[in-house]
Symmetry: C2
Subunit: 411 residues, 2 copies
């Protein structure tokens, strides 16, 4: 129909919301900065910035500190920063081998994180939900104050319908049709949104905001564990697809005469580059646990030829698939997460050679392949970022009320 967000008519109220959002977003993404920096970043005048920052301060969402001396003439401009604890997100992550919880404040401040092993094998969803929530009590910072929590974000290793957080399938968890969003919302009993997303979709967001892809708007993130998932940033926005299922690149068919995948199809990319494939090439059982993977990498570093060859071959297969994806997406950066991030130091040359062999010159010339910077925490931090999104998009609605109450009280 039309670019979303452009559909409705604008009014002065919309302008204020957009401008508050621009300020909060700038501070959230680029960190504390002076008012005059905000003037240049947003294009608003000093008058407008003053009023809007004043409003954010009144709402308790921002604070101003003494200006930092930078040795240039002119009146110093006070530094504006977000109050991390004013609005926090609770983030959960359900990985193949671990569960994690975190509390993240505005500006991306990590206020607390705790992680625990998840034994492999099927486990009913309600038990996992209980485990997640009990993680909150093990946070070094303690449970967050409920009234400051704006939303809950959840990263899942599975196919997730973004609308309501239904986990359609999660082979590694043994889940099918689990209404995770609803379960978690009921268990928490907070009247705030619970946003569930695929872990790779969140991983690319985290790497974009806080990791290897800061400032880069076209990013392909490929995450490998037992399964292989992808997250794509298109023009700075996460690509969700029609229902949030986009990015299932692990199930792109690459070999018509290949192995049967856990998804039922033949020759999925995942069967060639997933953890199982690497383990098999190293002479280990496909379903060996994460410790076995550590062994393979350790062996390769120690000079084991079989392990090195397994890594090299996996890297080549990864590279040729990445080549197709680079042709498809024309990203400026490919970020490798999970085991691919660990593979990269050992196999970057093999990866790049095969990638180069299967890409057109133009997209090849502008892409870089790098390992993820946030490691295993990327999906968790991405979950926090999406949870905070509502505050970034509309700071006034959530905090305007509080500010108005404060005004009434003072009058």
């Amino acid at each position: 129909m039309r670019p979303s967000g452009m559909d409705l008519g604008q009014r002065s109220e919309t302008v204020r919301r957009a401008n508050l959002s621009a300020i909060v977003r700038t501070l959230h993404e680029e960190g504390p900065q002076s008012r005059s920096d905000l003037v240049t970043r947003t294009g608003l005048t000093r008058s407008a910035i003053r009023v809007l920052v004043g409003e954010l301060k009144a709402a308790g969402l921002a604070s101003e500190d003494r200006a930092v001396r930078h040795g240039r003439p002119g009146r110093p401009s006070p530094e504006v920063s977000l109050v991390a604890r004013a609005a926090v997100a609770v983030a959960f992550s359900i990985g193949v081998d671990t569960l994690a919880a975190a509390v993240v404040g505005m500006g991306g401040t990590l206020l607390g994180l705790s992680r625990t092993d998840r034994p492999r094998g099927h486990k009913v969803a309600s038990a996992v939900v209980d485990d997640l929530v009990s993680l909150l009590d093990h946070l070094p910072s303690g449970r967050p104050e409920p009234e400051t929590v704006v939303a809950v974000g959840v990263a899942v290793a599975g196919v997730v319908r973004s609308r309501d957080g239904l986990v359609e399938t999660a082979p590694n968890l043994g889940w099918t049709g689990v209404p995770l969003g609803a379960l978690l919302a009921a268990r928490l009993g907070w009247s705030i949104p619970v946003v569930v997303r695929n872990e790779s979709d969140l991983g690319v967001l985290a790497e974009h905001r806080r990791g290897a892809a800061v400032g880069i708007d076209d990013v392909l993130y490929v995450h490998g564990e037992v399964g292989v998932g992808g997250g794509v940033l298109v023009d700075g926005r996460p690509m969700a697809g029609a229902a949030g299922y986009a990015g299932e690149i692990g199930h792109v068919p690459v070999d018509a005469s290949g192995l049967r995948c856990r998804c039922g199809a033949i020759g999925c990319w995942e069967t060639q580059i997933g953890a199982g494939a690497l383990l098999a090439r190293a002479g280990l059982p496909r379903d060996a646990g994460p410790d076995a993977l550590d062994d393979v990498f350790a062996a390769a570093e120690a000079g084991d030829v079989v392990a090195q060859a397994a890594i090299e071959t996996t890297g080549r297969t990864l590279g040729s698939g990445l080549g197709g994806l680079v042709n498809t997406f024309n990203p400026r950066m490919v970020v490798l997460g999970g085991i691919f991030g660990r593979l990269h130091p050992h196999a970057h040359q093999a990866i790049w050679e095969e990638l180069a062999r299967h890409t057109l010159p133009a997209p090849r010339a502008m892409v870089r392949v790098v390992p993820a910077k946030l490691g295993v925490d990327a999906p968790l931090l991405g979950a926090a970022e999406v949870a905070l999104e509502s505050v970034l998009a509309d700071p006034a609605t959530r905090f305007g009320h509080r500010a108005r109450v404060a005004q009434l009280a003072s009058a």
Copy 2:
């Protein structure tokens, strides 16, 4: 960094621009409608619509006709429509076998179209540019009035850098590094933008605005001729990638032991489903012309088993590749253009079976595969749409000046 378009501060001027844009866009995409329809569509008040429509009328961009009687009580609301000839786009298309030119007015009104054969084989770019421009004289409507042309759009069967219209490579045209945008701009001598894009990226836009995918925001368009290209609509926006090279799905590697592609790589999808592959399967030379293709389809319809098998096999190969793309993009619709659109009636079952075999249940359940509705004209019409985009995004800047001049003259 952040969703584009949200970066800068808003002001009242921005509001006006956005609202004018919302009105013009609605009329352009959904056709003429009453003022009260515009009220509901845009969410603006009657007062605002009145003023804004009045301004558009004053600028000559819109007109109001007597209300259409629809038998309901209440004062009738006059029908607002865009004046097609007030702002027109000149569109060109450079295909493998044809050149075309069109003039398209606001609202998507086709004001003139002319098409000519392009003999295969290399031809210097400047000669093609001359051919294109001379097509303008063969339009049934005659050359458009230069002052009404807002931009020129060009669809090319090649890899195009969108920033400046440089054609990086176009194997079917024998081009490498041709600055088509600059050449055409110089040849025309008009001081308006020349926008050059890949034909598939434009095809998906056209099918979205005027064809099979109207109202659908997540679309995968796959265009097959000698080469295979793709255009993707993500949340209503064309996916361009970092430089405009996105969508080169014809060069995704699908068979490590396959044929060498014209791009130099091994086993590109294009080698299996392009026109050459279909011809070869039908027992004809890979580089036979378009007439040979017509023969294959005719033979299949006449019951020729070899032709039918060739089409069926090509359909299966197409379907399995589409499966991977459906997993990747989670589109609501796959639109098949070029020879794939002609293939679809003969092979839709084969296509769907293989697609289904290689997709996850969730994305599979929500996708439809349909042939393109606009046929060979899709890229040309898409070129017109992108050329008109500047008027849609900001009607005031282009026409405000004219309106102000009119005001001054009347004062």
